[in-house]
């Protein structure tokens, strides 16, 4: 267990390091001079040179990378060439919005997907099970931002029940937060819920064919109790895998949904910084998103071992 834990952590660190190198290199080859971005087009050559030296751009690329990564490890993402503010401060504020959005969407997705998926599996030969499968097939085909636009049309524009966009002001409390969160979370969560429900359905179908479930039935358990007591835990592994994958998908899907609902999250930060040519900030946002995806994968990996004792033995 300890060995496999160490190996997974090692793989995580290595992947994150290589990924950080890719992010750094990709955004260092961008045409355009960050010093020019900071000073504007009227700057003299001397002022530009001084600015480049101050920003560390006259150093070799390797040194620049090392100091960037060193900073990251201490939570220092550098200073924006456009605003002159530390990037980490803005990242933190923006990440709060995105975290709320993605986590509430995930909760929503699972709350819809698990019951519907189980139902679709158990009743697969009946009309309601088939209907559920068809609805989930439709749900997958609707991109989250389209769902968002439709939700705005109906619930914000026509009915006026929810705001069409924006975020609650500080100090307005949880009810206001949830009120602003409702439509974006539903837009992001329902589509992913449709994806996950299909995996739940197929995982439950797999389990229903297993011998141990027949044994449980033979012991006198009702089909429902046998499934709940023995089946669902075994169905959890593929569902966990896809939930982890979908959490990463949602994190990036949030980029688009934030644009639809005018939310100041990481996604809209990314798009703003790209538009402003503020590449140091773009590097920061991309690194946070990539790091989050890697972290999600690591946590999912570790959760396998918690859910399934067999995997603990096998990988040790």
């Amino acid at each position: 267990m300890a060995v496999s834990l160490a190996r997974r952590l090692g793989a995580f660190v290595l992947t994150a390091l290589v990924a950080s190198l890719v992010v750094f290199l990709l955004l260092s080859v961008v045409p355009g001079d960050p010093a020019q971005v900071a000073l504007g087009v009227t700057a003299t050559p001397e002022a530009l040179a001084a600015q480049r030296a101050e920003m560390g751009l006259d150093r070799p690329l390797v040194a620049q990378y090392l100091s960037w990564v060193g900073g990251l490890l201490q939570g220092d993402f550098g200073v924006s060439a456009v605003t002159g503010e530390p990037i980490a401060t803005e990242l933190f504020t923006r990440a709060t919005v995105t975290t709320w959005l993605v986590l509430s969407a995930m909760v929503l997705a699972l709350a819809v997907a698990v019951p519907l998926g189980v139902l679709a599996a158990v009743r697969r030969r009946r009309a309601d099970g088939v209907l559920l499968s068809a609805v989930s097939q439709l749900g997958i085909a609707v991109p989250a931002f389209l769902a968002g636009l439709l939700l705005i049309t109906v619930f914000a524009v026509r009915l006026g029940w929810f705001p069409a966009g924006g975020w609650s002001r500080p100090g307005e409390g949880l009810p206001s937060l949830l009120w602003h969160l409702a439509l974006p979370a539903v837009a992001l969560g329902l589509v992913q819920g449709a994806v996950i429900s299909r995996y739940v359905r197929s995982a439950v179908l797999d389990v229903m064919g297993e011998d141990f479930l027949r044994t449980a039935r033979a012991k006198g358990l009702t089909p429902a109790r046998a499934l709940v007591r023995h089946g669902l835990r075994n169905a959890a592994i593929p569902v966990l895998t896809i939930s982890g994958v979908q959490l990463g998908v949602m994190l990036v899907g949030a980029v688009v949904v934030e644009r639809v609902f005018v939310l100041n999250g990481l996604g809209s930060m990314l798009l703003e910084k790209v538009a402003n040519r503020d590449m140091a900030a773009v590097q920061g946002v991309v690194m946070v998103l990539v790091g989050a995806v890697l972290l999600i994968n690591l946590v999912v990996d570790l959760l396998y071992a918690v859910i399934d004792p067999r995997l603990r033995e096998a990988s040790a």
Binding site: T15, V142, F145, L271
Partner: protein, 282 residues
């Protein structure tokens, strides 16, 4: 000449998914092809005195905020959807499949290094990669297709690798090896034909994902540039008119959803046919 393949699968009736998916995709392709030679109106020039006409009349689906015919825009938009989707799948196949086969044949440290590299690429979701590429090289349909292809390549590599590992354990491969056949010979004669079904299934899945991503990117302004019509940008332009002209969002939205639905059905149908573990055998 040809490689010994697995016995032909037991003939099943053509799955409903496969047929309906193929029909939908064929319709989209046909629409795109027709739009090359004919659309009801020219979808490019603006006509200010015909702005925001409702559906019906001379413009069957109405006109947009620039007075362009919505039906013509939808037809022409199918082109960029298919073009970016197909190119992305091609890029992903050309990058991912050789890597997967190579890792599966060579095993050992080659496998370890390649799969670690795949893990790194996997950490960059396709949409994020496209935005970054757009920031570096400028947003265009080409950038989008390449970035989406790179983003999708890891899943092709993984599928090909696991397929290759299975093929490599077969007796005819062992026979070929003892006959001193090289890796290239085995890869092209035995592995590739045997994993092509898995790759085709993966391609249909990746196609659907690429269509969704292309729509999102065009919506964000990271897809093809104006004035080339695209469904995603129609959504973005229609967003300001949700109250008075909801059809401006509804029609392109429907086009995206139907296309993706068709591709997903096609993918499910192909999986039933090619993937032995598919639940259709139940």
């Amino acid at each position: 000449m040809t490689a010994p393949t697995t016995p032909a699968p037991v003939r099943r009736h053509l799955g409903g998914n496969l047929v309906s998916g193929a029909v939908v995709l064929a319709l989209v392709v046909l629409t795109a092809l027709i739009s090359l030679v004919w659309t009801p109106y020219d979808p490019i020039p603006v006509s200010p005195d015909e702005r925001l006409l409702g559906p019906g009349g001379l413009h069957l689906l109405g006109t947009d905020l620039y007075g362009r015919d919505v039906l013509s825009l939808l037809m022409a938009g199918a082109r960029i959807t298919l073009l970016v989707g197909v190119s992305a799948v091609l890029v992903a196949t050309l990058l991912g499949v050789p890597v997967g086969i190579w890792a599966g044949i060579r095993r050992g440290w080659v496998d370890a290094v390649l799969m670690r590299a795949v893990d790194v690429v996997l950490a960059f979701p396709a949409l994020l990669l496209t935005i970054v590429f757009g920031a570096v090289w400028g947003a265009s349909a080409t950038t989008a297709a390449i970035a989406l292809g790179i983003g999708a390549a890891p899943s092709f590599a993984r599928v090909s690798r696991s397929g290759t590992l299975q093929v490599m354990a077969r007796e005819y491969v062992l026979a070929a090896r003892s006959a001193n056949r090289g890796s290239w010979w085995i890869a092209t004669r035995h592995v590739l034909p045997n994993i092509s079904g898995l790759v085709i299934v993966q391609a249909s899945v990746a196609f659907a994902i690429a269509v969704l991503a292309e729509a999102a990117l065009s919506y964000l302004g990271f897809g093809t540039r104006p004035p080339t019509p695209s469904w995603g940008r129609m959504l973005q332009e229609g967003q300001s008119y949700l109250y008075d002209h909801p059809t401006l969002v509804l029609f392109p939205g429907l086009a995206i959803a139907v296309t993706v639905l068709g591709l997903n059905l096609l993918g499910d149908g192909l999986r039933d046919r090619f993937d032995p573990r598919s639940e259709a055998r139940r």
